[in-house]
């Protein structure tokens, strides 16, 4: 039985006879550094407060000020939050891109634009609403220096009138955005929003069909970005040493964590910190510190993106062989170096699985939502200490930096567990220990922490050349024994990684396998395939590597399985090919998107239809 919601096909854009309620995308095209973030957030929150499911995606350049930026708010009564290719409602504020933005619209779309841009002449099949922003902003913002920022709030007022967004909600969102401390700024912006609203009411006759209407689709929900959700997960996991080096799109993870830690993780009795955050000199140092801390018994983490992971490669391999826990957040992006650093990608799956030289394999955990960013981050910290190894938490720019609706996070049910750590009493009882000995047959050895007051506690940590007692060796049998135990440990992980989320559709002969943010596009695509093409599909969402038996069962029970990758070379597919038998591999097909934007359902649907027709 499918758990997927059956919904009618969405009406395609075009000339509408009747209103389109709560099912459209608003795109605001501005220049970055112009302060449009506040206006966009207020607009999105106003809709959210009206109970309408929304998602916000910021497409921004690698630049501080002056280059084009687009912020897209998708409004969907069905709760779809994937990127939608089609834009229904454009706010054109950027002279650089205005023409192209307008020409890309489908027939029937609406455009609010800065009057001097003279866009009206471009097309006759879209609805135009010219606004003299400079004229409107002058009376509401006497300080000329602030006008660049405040004029953005005018479009919030204009759009509110055109889409029937309630001004009380705009006001609430605005107050919330500025907080009590910036009441003056809030007043100024509220004046601008009202001026926009009044201008629209006096000037325009609404001709486009798009309309927002209060509904009950967001009750109890929160809005949060994935990076902040991971940060909260880390704090509630009890992280103690946090190391990082700034890199888009991961910087805001630790920045947000610092705010939370400062607020909630000081000893109330002494005021002292129960954590250390270090902005390191580079990613080599940040992973070195995280491993040093993990070795000494801290819950340690670092956060980075692909280029940082490349630099960490040697250390992470060392962490694998020396068996040191650490959690590494990889907020994936396009790269390396310059070249689309502010665009999203699932580009590190294959390289992280095998990172570093020699026979290394690393566990990875893949959240797809803010809720999972929180819960799976806590799991990752537990997992790292249970298995004494570096663990990747894999997100991407889309999940990490964009705003998502989410259910409130559940308080962790299980107590913190530090894994197989021996203390002085244990050592007394055992009379000693072998650091790399497989006592329990699960491949996971016991460790002691520096500072353990016992004359048998110490061991010497080094790379791959050691025997069961952590003594230096270059013997063939010692090396092989250790490698085989590490392989055994990796096999044990399969029973403890977060299981995939499987949705079996009994009528389906095809299935999807995807992870992370591909989830939203794949779920919407399942609906499109059914409604538009009569194709039924099952779906397995991976939440971890190593793979579990669920994946094999899923592939076995379908004729063809589409592996969705947000990269050119099909990294998930490649990883499956490394491990699977030929008859399994023969069933795998590949859907790949690698344009740097969040994956959309249409791309997935079209590719599946194309391949199914073969």
């Amino acid at each position: 039985m499918s758990t997927l919601e059956v919904s009618p096909a969405e009406a395609s854009s075009g000339q509408y006879a009747e209103s389109v309620v709560n099912d459209f995308s608003i795109q605001v095209a501005t220049v970055n550094g112009s302060g449009s973030q506040t206006a966009n957030t207020v607009l999105m929150r106003s809709l959210f407060q009206m109970g309408i499911p929304v998602s916000g995606k910021n497409m921004f350049p690698s630049n501080i000020a002056g280059l084009p930026t687009w912020f897209t708010t998708r409004v969907s009564k069905h709760g779809h939050v994937a990127r939608r290719k089609e834009i229904d409602f454009l706010v054109a504020m950027n002279p650089e891109t205005a023409r192209e933005d307008v020409m890309k619209l489908e027939s029937g779309a609406a455009v609010v634009y800065d009057e001097p841009l003279g866009l009206k002449q471009l097309r006759s099949d879209v609805h135009f609403y010219p606004v003299p922003f400079d004229k409107l902003v002058a009376p509401v913002c006497p300080d000329a220096k602030l006008r660049k920022l405040v004029r953005n709030m005018i479009y919030d007022g204009i759009v509110a009138w055109l889409l029937s967004i309630e001004m009380e909600e705009v006001h609430t969102a605005l107050i919330r955005q500025f907080g009590k401390r910036k009441a003056k700024a809030a007043d100024l912006n509220w004046g601008a929003a009202k001026a926009g609203y009044d201008y629209a009411a006096q000037t325009f006759t609404k001709t486009d069909p798009f309309r927002a209407e209060r509904m009950n689709g967001t009750a109890g929900k929160i809005i949060i970005d994935g990076n902040s959700a991971c940060a909260l997960g880390a704090m509630f996991a009890g992280v103690t040493v946090v190391t990082w080096y700034p890199i888009t799109p991961s910087s805001s993870l630790v920045e947000s964590l610092m705010v939370y830690l400062k607020r909630y993780r000081h000893d109330p009795a002494t005021g002292k910190a129960t954590y250390a955050v270090v902005q390191a000199e580079d990613e080599l140092a940040s992973i070195g510190m995280a491993l040093g801390a993990g070795w000494a018994g801290a819950r340690s983490m670092t956060s980075t993106s692909g280029p940082g992971i490349s630099l960490m490669s040697e250390f992470i391999g060392f962490g694998y062989y020396a068996e040191i826990p650490a959690v590494i957040f990889d907020v994936e992006r396009v790269g390396p170096s310059t070249g689309l650093p502010t665009r999203t990608m699932q580009g590190d799956i294959l390289s992280n699985a095998l990172l570093s030289h020699g026979d290394t394999r690393h566990p990875m955990i893949f959240p797809s939502s803010p809720e999972e960013c929180f819960t799976l981050t806590i799991d990752a910290f537990e997992f790292a200490e249970k298995f004494q190894t570096p663990v990747f938490v894999m997100t991407d720019l889309d999940l990490g930096m964009n705003s998502w609706m989410a259910d409130p996070f559940p308080y962790p049910a299980k107590p913190i567990s530090r894994g197989k750590v021996l203390d002085a009493e244990d050592l007394d009882r055992l009379g000693g220990f072998g650091r790399y000995q497989d006592v329990d047959g699960d491949g996971i050895p016991y460790r002691t922490l520096p500072g353990t007051k016992h004359n048998k506690a110490a061991y010497f940590t080094r790379g791959s050349g050691h025997n069961e007692k952590a003594q230096y060796t270059e013997r063939e049998d010692d090396y092989v024994n250790n490698m085989d135990r590490l392989a055994r440990k990796f096999e044990t992980m399969r029973q403890f990684v977060p299981e995939p989320v499987v949705t079996i559709n009994p009528k389906a002969s095809i299935g999807f396998v995807a992870s992370g943010t591909s989830d939203y596009a794949v779920r919407e695509s399942c609906e499109q395939l059914r409604a538009e093409h009569g194709i039924e599909a099952s779906y397995l969402r991976l939440r971890a590597y190593p793979f579990t038996s669920h994946l094999l069962d899923f592939i076995r029970s379908h004729d063809r399985v589409y592996v969705v990758d947000q990269n050119r070379d099909g990294q998930w597919l490649a990883l499956m090919r490394l491990e699977m038998d030929p008859e399994m591999i023969a069933k795998l097909r590949s859907v790949r998107y690698y344009g740097g934007l969040p994956l959309d359902a249409r791309t997935v649907t079209e590719e599946v239809v194309r391949q199914e027709a073969k």
């Binding site: 929160i222 809005i223 909260l232 704090m235 509630f236 996991a237 009890g238 103690t240 040493v241 939370y260 993780r265 000893d267 002494t270 002292k272 910190a273 129960t274 954590y275 250390a276 270090v278 390191a280 000199e281 580079d282 080599l284 140092a285 940040s286 992973i287 070195g288 510190m289 995280a290 491993l291 040093g292 801390a293 993990g294 070795w295 000494a296 018994g297 801290a298 819950r299 340690s300 040697e314 060392f318 409130p408 308080y411 962790p412 107590p415 913190i416 922490l449 520096p450 500072g451 353990t452 007051k453 016992h454 004359n455 506690a457 110490a458 061991y459 010497f460 940590t461 790379g463 003594q471």
Partner: protein, 348 residues
């Protein structure tokens, strides 16, 4: 069964009841005569004599002959032989996790001044509480004799080719950018090196100890400026050093102007006896000037160049809890469900 057994002579122990053997490590695999072995011996003696609890010490190293040596001393201490040039980061992380550990880093000139210069400089900048011994021989031993970044201009390799680039002076770098204990010594000078290591143990911030430690296999020939022979002729000893640990009586009268006492963090005293020059080891600029002067005169200046017992360490700056982060209980680490509710409410 004899009734007339002679009781064995009482074993010699230190103030915490341990024997010197408790401070030893595995058998060295370095070359006979290697300066690094002498340094290992000094470490054993100093930690034994001061009665340091070995389980409270953590050893860190990078890669190279020097970095292998922590396996040859303090076998009862945890050790971390990390990756090339990156020991400072590992030590930093570990000591933040457990601020109660006494950190001892051992590195080489390649590990610090070539591949590791970046991490070294940032370690210095943070004044991380760590004792950082550079076993400096100017060459890479394990890869058979290439120059490192501390090799002097004109110093020749074993095959005769001269080094053409100027050296990094790790003491000058450490002085300039924030280390709070800076010393240079020679592996062959037992007494001086002992006093320096002991003083570093009693120091609360970062101590950088650059020890000229000749490589008998690849850099002990005529033409080398890091050989035993060169040091014999070019070492300029800055002052005579004694170390009086906090648990010993310091009642000996000292003549005015001849001796200067520096009180270390743990209450021990570094006693500095003037030789042929006036030198104030709390004057950073004077230390830098002395290094410059020595360089012009082709001297290797040894002794304690700088001590600053006041500057806050990185651990102080982070306002870390007194209890090590690694052993904090769950109720200190996981905020209550009320906190989660509060955060969720703010996001609604």
């Amino acid at each position: 069964m004899s009734t007339a057994t002679i009781p064995p002579p009482p074993k010699k122990t230190n103030r915490i009841g341990l024997e010197v053997v408790n401070y030893r490590g595995g058998k060295t695999t370095l070359c006979a005569g290697c300066g690094h072995n002498s340094i290992s011996e000094r470490v054993v003696e100093c930690f034994y004599e001061l009665g340091i609890e070995p389980t409270g010490v953590a050893k860190f190293s990078g890669i190279g002959c020097s970095s292998k040596s922590p396996a040859y001393f303090l076998g009862m201490s945890h050790g971390f032989n990390s990756v090339h040039g990156r020991m400072p980061s590992v030590a930093t992380g570990a000591l933040l996790a457990n601020r109660n550990m006494l950190g001892l880093g051992v590195t080489g000139d390649g590990d610090t001044a070539s591949i590791g210069i970046g991490q070294f400089m940032h370690l210095v900048r943070r004044n991380m509480p760590l004792m950082y011994i550079i076993e400096n021989n100017g060459v890479y031993g394990l890869t058979k004799g290439q120059f490192s970044a501390t090799a002097d201009i004109g110093s020749t390799a074993k095959g005769g080719s001269p080094n053409e680039l100027p050296p990094f002076d790790c003491c000058a770098l450490a002085l300039k950018w924030g280390a709070t204990f800076v010393a240079r010594s020679f592996s062959g000078d037992k007494k001086q090196l002992q006093a320096i290591i002991k003083a570093a143990i009693g120091h609360s911030g970062l101590s950088v100890i650059d020890v000229i430690s000749p490589c008998v296999t690849f850099n002990d020939h005529e033409g080398s400026t890091k050989s035993y022979g060169y040091m014999k002729e070019h070492e300029a000893v800055l002052h005579e050093l004694d170390y009086v640990p906090f648990f010993e009586d310091i009642s000996v009268e000292i003549a005015e102007g001849e001796v200067r006492d520096v009180t270390m963090h743990d209450g021990s005293h570094l006693r500095i006896r003037k030789l042929d020059r006036d030198f104030d080891p709390t004057d950073r600029l004077a230390a830098l000037a002395a290094l410059e002067e020595a360089e012009t005169k082709e001297e290797v200046l040894t002794g304690v160049l700088y001590v600053n017992t006041h500057k806050p360490t990185f651990v102080d700056l982070l306002n870390l809890s007194d209890e090590p982060l690694a052993s904090l209980p769950q109720d200190m680490l996981r905020p209550s469900s009320l906190v989660l509710d509060e955060v969720m409410e703010q996001l609604r």
